[in-house]
Amino acid sequence: MSATTMRMREALNEALREEMERDESVFLMGEDIGVFEGAFKVTQGLMKRFGERRVRDTPISENTIVGAGVGAAMAGLRPVVELMTVNFSLLAFDQIINHAAAIPYMFNGQVRVPMVIRMPGGGGHQLGPTHSHSFEAMYLQIPGMLVACPSTAADGKGLLKAAIRDDNPVIFVEHETLYGMRGEVPDDPDHVLDFGRCAVRREGDDVTIVGILKMAHEAERAAEALAEEHGIEAEVIDPRTLRPLDLDTILESVRKTNRAVIVEEGWPHGGVGANLAALIQEQAFDHLDAPVQRVTGADVPMPYSKRLEQSAIPHPEHVVSAALNATVGAS
């Protein structure tokens, strides 16, 4: 199958365009997604292509935008709602948790909420304490919700298409620093990835490194360094979706390597890594030769200063250090 090299934002844009062409019930809502073409240009050209009926600029009313998506989904449409950053999604927490996620269950399946809520997050652009966070762990907690967090252009496209076709509400987390990253994307219009399938980015026998979003790339860089500088072969896994989580692939790897490092940009307490570490120790305790290591963002609101911000975000050095912690003393 042929493929084209493109940036993450272009891959997401293609996914939206293709799914809107495929299904008339798919439409977009969000702040500045139409005339302005998106704060991060993910929706570039879509209003010109599909018109104002299907690409809807909204007022700055996050809870109502999401809620209107919930209502439209209940009435049979497939809304894709863009929230400008994950921090702004907090203004819509009521509609996301009390409504989108709860409605199918609390009305006993009489109605579905097939909607996607896209939101970019993550640090690295000096946007300070209200525009730079990582809330995957909070969204991961919500029963009734699916959570995707793609790290490559190909996954971005394949998972977004899958999210739009899924009958469940989906939180779709994008990372601001990955929008410009290029990657090969299959040309197949049915390039739709299953939720709940890890990608094994690199194979290795010595330690398992699990990383999401931008940290999937940092994990790969760390693995190269571990191999070159320490002779340690790391297996690098990108879960791609956190709910459902492909725990089997992660456990299988840990049973092989007997060591695990989990890398995320979010906060440490109750984080993605905390959750995964609990699952690993519950289900693969006998296979562990070292405590599960977590590498997380610093436990502070994201600072503005470039040096402070970068010091608050995990880098390959942190991952290498954690992997060495897990392997030191073991032979």
């Binding site: 439409f27 009926r53 809807r56 909204t58 007022p59 009313s61 809870n63 109502t64 935008i65 999401v66 809620g67 209107a68 998506g69 919930v70 209502g71 439209a72 989904a73 209940m74 009435a75 049979g76 449409l77 809304p79 009521d94 509609q95 009390n98 409504h99 409605i103 199918p104 269950y105 609390m106 009305f107 006993n108 399946g109 009489q110 109605v111 579905r112 097939p114 029963p143 009734g144 699916l146 899924d166 009958d167 469940n168 939720f195 709940g196 709910r243 459902p244 989580l245 492909d246 725990l247 699952l279 519950e282 289900q283």
Partner: protein, 440 residues
């Protein structure tokens, strides 16, 4: 707080109602049906209150007694394809939309035959077949959803419209401002209907809203409104019919403020310290059912005998609803994860995880796991804390007493060394008033 005179101007129908709607009675058949539905809702709610006292229904119970004309006046002029969405006080709305009262009662009982199979309870009644799009427990939470329903009607090119009902308290939420603006901006076919019963929980309207004439509250955002006598079913019908017509033909939103009153407390756990008996009595003289029955009798549209016949039939219907609910089984424990997700085909993966047992398993494998006797025992052990129904523990010897089994003298207690509940936190406040003594 406003002085007595100001208060009465805000609160009494004589001071605020100027509309001349409701002059002409509908035809006798329609009139009798309006009356029948109002009496059914009244009787249903009275019985629900009684069953709550008997601990057959759990949680919170918000009764709409006194607000029947607002409900029935509205639903009686809606088309079958129109969407109705409401609040946590919507047993009557579902029934008026055609939902079988037996299923509503079964939901209050938390049983298999409930409208949501015991998942939703009193605050979350739903009937998709009749386009009753739900009761919602979050004040103002249904407004954005109403905008979405209306948007979908427009998007699909149907002439269906949405009626969004909410209380006076909801007009203070951010959702009110956001949704009214969006609906006006996008010309959405919604009738926003404020059931103004003069209290946001226990806070009187002049103490919770700077603008007390709610018919004007959305005007600055582009949605004009009209105040109508919510105790007069004929006036309600006329008014809502006109507003539905605007939504249906002109595809734009309007607001109706139904001026009404609830005769019972905010919920069954409300000691009603915030209002005078005299005020309640004054409003009881404007009982929507009494007013309308008298009017029908005076007009010769119904006889005393017919009225008695209607009441008798409804008594039997409500008794049957209780019997039905009582006979309906408890939801099986292995259905706990049903409808949490839409699970296509052989989809694998961790959608939900159950860690109630030593061997965590995935939620979608609940039934499989429950076949294991140890897992089943643990689930049963957990469920036994609920006894036969959520509020009937304590005496059964199965599991410990809970907050709900608190002695009567604890009801309404505010100071037992616990911190005060945060302002506006209805749930915390009410949970302190639980227990048999807290029920009216």
């Amino acid at each position: 707080m406003a002085d007595k005179d100001d208060t009465s101007e805000v609160r009494t129908p004589a001071g605020v109602l100027t509309s001349s709607r409701g002059q002409a009675l509908p035809d006798p058949d329609t009139s009798r049906e309006l009356l029948r539905q109002m009496v059914l809702i009244r009787r249903f709610e009275e019985e629900a209150g009684r069953q709550y006292q008997r601990a057959k229904a759990g949680g919170f119970l918000h009764l709409a007694i006194g607000e029947e004309a607002t409900i029935v006046g509205t639903t009686s002029v809606m088309e079958p394809g129109d969407y109705l969405i409401g609040t946590y006080r919507t047993h009557g709305h579902a029934i008026a939309r055609g939902t079988d009262p037996r299923n509503v009662m079964a939901e209050l009982f938390g049983r298999e035959d409930g409208t949501a199979r015991g998942r939703g309870g009193s605050m979350h009644i739903f009937d998709g077949d009749r386009r009753f799009m739900g009761g919602y427990g979050i004040v103002g939470g249904n407004l954005p959803i109403a905008a979405g329903l209306a948007l979908a009607s427009d998007y699909k090119g149907t002439d269906d419209v949405t009626v969004c009902m909410f209380g006076d308290g909801a007009t203070n939420t951010g959702n009110f401002g956001e949704t009214i603006n969006l609906a006006a901006l996008w010309d959405l076919p919604v009738v926003f209907l404020v059931e103004n019963n003069l209290y946001g929980m226990g806070t009187a309207i002049e103490r919770h809203s700077a603008v007390t004439d709610l018919s004007h509250k959305a005007e600055g955002l582009g949605v004009p409104g009209e105040r109508v006598d919510g105790q007069d079913v004929v006036a309600m019908r006329e008014c809502v019919a006109d507003h539905l017509e605007i939504a249906r033909r002109e595809r734009r939103p309007t607001l109706v403020e139904a001026f009404t009153y609830r005769y019972r407390g905010h919920s069954a756990a409300d000691p009603e310290v915030y209002r005078d008996k005299q005020e309640v009595e004054e409003w009881q003289r404007r009982d929507p059912i009494e007013i309308f029955s008298r009017r029908l009798i005076d007009a010769g549209a119904i006889s005393e005998d017919e009225l008695a016949g209607i009441r008798e039939g409804i008594d039997a219907q409500v008794v049957a609803a209780v019997e039905f609910a009582d006979a309906s089984p408890e939801p099986p424990l292995d259905s706990l994860y049903d409808n949490l997700y839409v699970m296509p085909g052989e989809q694998e993966g961790w959608y939900a995880v159950d860690e109630r047992t030593p061997d965590p398993f995935r939620g979608e494998r609940e039934r499989e796991a429950a076949a294991d006797s140890r897992v089943r025992e643990l689930h049963e052990a957990g469920a036994s804390y609920g006894g036969q129904s959520p509020r009937s523990g304590g005496g059964s010897g199965e599991g410990p007493a809970t907050e709900r089994d608190a002695p009567a003298d604890r009801a309404g207690a505010r100071d037992e060394g616990e911190p005060d509940p945060p302002a506006g936190d209805e749930q915390v406040e009410e949970s302190r008033q639980q227990g048999p003594g807290g029920i009216e």
